[in-house]
Amino acid sequence: MKPLPKLTTNELVRDALLAAILFVSQVSLAWISNVELVSLLLILYTLVFKKHVWLILYVFIVLEGLVYGFGLWWFSYLYVWPILPAAVFLFIRVTPPKPFVISILSGIFGMLFGLFCALSYLVLAGPGAAFIWWTAGIPFDIVHGIGNFVLSLILFSPLYRLLTALNRI
């Protein structure tokens, strides 16, 4: 059996710090409905720190549950947020990636966020309830998508340069 890759102390501390930054970014923007930096940071972490994003992401999700409670929304986070790093691994093959492409990816993810979350309602409450839940939130999904697009367009390049420089240290 292949042994599990070991984390160095540096990597462990770095990943913990990145998870904390992810969580703080979510909390600090929580007062603006459906505007968040988590999507952009997850894309950046995936591009710069590759598979470490999974550890960072699940630490973030556990922190969210510990602070806000383990409601149904939390269980949907377990599979909704990982879609974004998976999409980056699948679609983004150019280094450095074009900010517009990243913004498009982030925007589409934001617009489909409610649909992805509704899948948990599909299992628990049936297709009718899931559909109603999703459609009621469509205006907020659109705001989410536009917010993601704009924030990524503005912040992707400087943050990408910063993180790649930090990763070289």
């Binding site: 492409v101 498009i104 589409i108 559909f131 459609t135």
Partner: protein
């Protein structure tokens, strides 16, 4: 063969516009349709022990929440979110908070579950709404 799909700006842009258009179309087809004018509606509150209270109101309101606000004896409390409006946690002092009581206030329109929450449920003349105390155990026991 390259197994990875490259997201080009043009393809991505088209995909984003397609998703946005689809969302707008679905929302325009499914959003609650309100009616302007005077409505007479009945509201029942059915408590856990089987007791009921009955209210009637004449209102210009377009949504159920506004209609309930015109009834002085009906006190509805809850938490408000931008996305779903008021999430009811107590009616006339009787708590049905899912987190604490493992129960919730179901909203029924003419005996059938409503499609929207109290803030988004459009009302029509001569409708009868019921706020039904529903425990999670009762819900789970349904076939």
């Amino acid at each position: 063969m390259n197994k990875h799909i490259k997201l080009s700006p043009l393809l991505g842009g088209f995909a984003a516009i397609a998703v946005l258009t689809l969302l707008l179309v679905i929302y325009s087809l499914t959003r609650p349709v309100t009616i302007v004018g005077t409505k007479n509606i009945s509201i029942d509150v059915a408590y856990e022990d089987g007791t009921k209270e009955h209210y009637e109101t004449t209102t210009e309101a377009q949504f159920l929440l506004e209609a309930t606000e015109s009834i002085p004896d009906l006190k509805i409390e809850g938490n408000t979110s931008d996305e779903f409006g008021l999430m009811i946690t107590a009616i006339n002092g009787t708590s049905a908070d899912y987190q604490k009581d493992h129960a919730y206030w179901a909203i029924l329109l003419d005996g059938e579950p409503c499609s929207y929450g109290i803030s988004q449920q459009p009302i029509k003349d001569k409708e009868t709404y019921t706020f039904q105390y529903t425990s999670a155990k009762e819900e789970a026991a349904k076939p």
